[in-house]
């Protein structure tokens, strides 16, 4: 360090004789030869920086005039290429940027996303009126099948009665389930209809759950008349389509039962 200029030294003496008397020692150490090539390193940094900037800013002459044509012809030729290949061909910069995920996602966000979506959907659908209509529709489908089962069981019992004595009936009835024993009281179609109408939703649901094997989807669809069902596309366009259809079939089923 060079000596302080007289003016500055005198100024410091006036403020702090202690500081003015202190020898100036440079405590900081610089790596050997640091200054010998510093100018070259700075120049390199500056020009590298400048080159990077130029590369980004400079565009070949006439580039933008022919760009739309180039892109369009490329799209026409390579229509079938994947989105990744396409963006790579159109703009390598954008392709590599794709790798960078700019937006942060909370941890484990995706782990329970499907569950949360499903919960949301289920929660909402409970509020939609049409579900109750669907339940009714199932009730009648189920009722139709039960009718069939009970009718067949009744027929067997009727046949049995006509061919055997009372003792045998009692012996047989001891081994057959209650619901089939009960079915013997439904001797006419009117009585049978009344019996089914008197069943509660719970009884039917319970029945379907315990004997689900014989009431599989196939059986139900086979017994369903699909020709009056609305077109599948209509559901998507108008959500009232299904509701209207269910109202209609509701009304018809009620008529039939009465």
């Amino acid at each position: 360090m060079e000596n302080k200029s007289t003016e500055i030294l005198n100024e410091l003496k006036a403020i702090s004789p202690l500081l003015a008397a202190m020898e100036k020692v440079n405590v900081f150490i610089v790596p050997d030869e640091y200054f010998s090539d510093l100018d070259e390193r700075i120049l390199t940094t500056v020009f590298i920086h400048q080159d990077e900037k130029n590369n980004l800013q400079k565009v070949p002459e006439g580039y933008f005039d022919s760009l739309p044509d180039k892109i369009l012809s490329k799209i026409k030729v390579e229509k079938n290429e994947s989105a990744t290949e396409e963006i790579k061909a159109l703009s390598p910069a954008l392709f590599y940027l794709k790798e960078e995920n700019t937006f942060a996602v909370p941890e484990n966000y995706f782990d329970d996303l499907s569950d949360r979506i499903l919960n949301k959907i289920n929660g909402k659908e409970r509020e939609v009126v049409s579900i109750s209509s669907v339940k009714k529709w199932w009730k009648y489908a189920a009722a139709a099948v039960i009718t069939g089962v009970i009718a067949i069981s009744s027929l067997q019992i009727f046949n049995h009665t006509s061919n055997s004595n009372k003792k045998e009936i009692i012996a047989a009835s001891a081994s057959i389930p209650d619901y089939i024993k009960e079915s013997s009281q439904y001797k006419t179609p009117e009585k049978l209809n009344q019996g089914i109408a008197s069943l509660s939703d719970d009884e039917i649901v319970n029945y379907l759950e315990t004997t689900g094997s014989i009431l599989d989807e196939e059986t139900i669809t086979k017994n369903l008349d699909a020709k009056d069902l609305p077109n599948a596309d209509d559901y998507l366009i108008d959500e009232n389509t299904l509701n209207n259809f269910l109202k209609k079939t509701d009304a018809e089923s009620n008529k039939n039962i009465q």
């Binding site: 100036k24 900081f28 610089v30 200054f35 510093l38 120049l43």
Partner: protein, 183 residues
């Protein structure tokens, strides 16, 4: 260092495309050491100083074309170096989430982590005393005490009136004296 070319000549050469790079090289050679030490006293570590110095010259290259002849190249370079150094410290503070009040401690710790640091030596005590000053006083003290910069030039570098700079230097020197006497 040959000082055959004064700043005005260098600036004129810089404006000519054929001599632009040559003029820039001369400017770097002329000022690199002074600017290095100015930055080093603000950011303390050598590596940080090297980064700041390179960054400031990138800005110089960009800004020199629009440099107004009426101001001095010397003070303009010091202003860029000061601003770059302070910006660097601010960014570092944000990165390390050191609160503003801890600023001096951060720089003091840098000093203490120097392999040659010796708390008993007066020159290191002086450095610790300087780091205990508020930022503006620290800058003024360094520029006056080490760079021996006239207040008139310093007023251009720090964009502060000469009177305010004199007062800052006075306060800084007194505080440093107290620090050295009491530590």
């Amino acid at each position: 260092m040959t000082e055959i070319q004064n700043d005005q000549e260098l600036l004129a050469l810089f404006k000519e495309p054929t001599t632009k790079e040559q003029a820039f090289t001369s400017i770097i050679k002329k000022y690199q050491e002074k600017l290095y030490w100015h930055i080093r006293r603000i950011v303390i570590s050598h590596d940080d100083t090297d980064d700041v110095l390179q960054n400031m010259f990138i800005k110089v290259w960009k800004g020199l074309e629009n440099f107004r002849e009426d101001s001095q190249l010397y003070t303009w370079l010091y202003r860029i170096a000061t601003n770059e150094s302070l910006t660097f410290l601010t960014q570092q503070k944000k990165r390390n989430s050191i609160s503003i009040n801890d600023d001096e401690n951060g720089l003091s710790n840098k000093l203490k982590s120097d392999t040659h640091f010796d708390a008993n030596k007066l020159e290191w005590k002086l450095q610790l005393a300087i780091q205990s000053l508020p930022e503006k006083q620290r800058l003024v003290f360094n520029l006056r005490y080490y760079d021996e910069m006239p207040y008139e030039q310093m007023s251009h570098v720090l964009e502060t009136s000469e009177g305010a700079l004199k007062a800052s230097y006075h306060h800084a020197a007194k505080k440093i004296e107290n620090y050295i006497l009491n530590n």
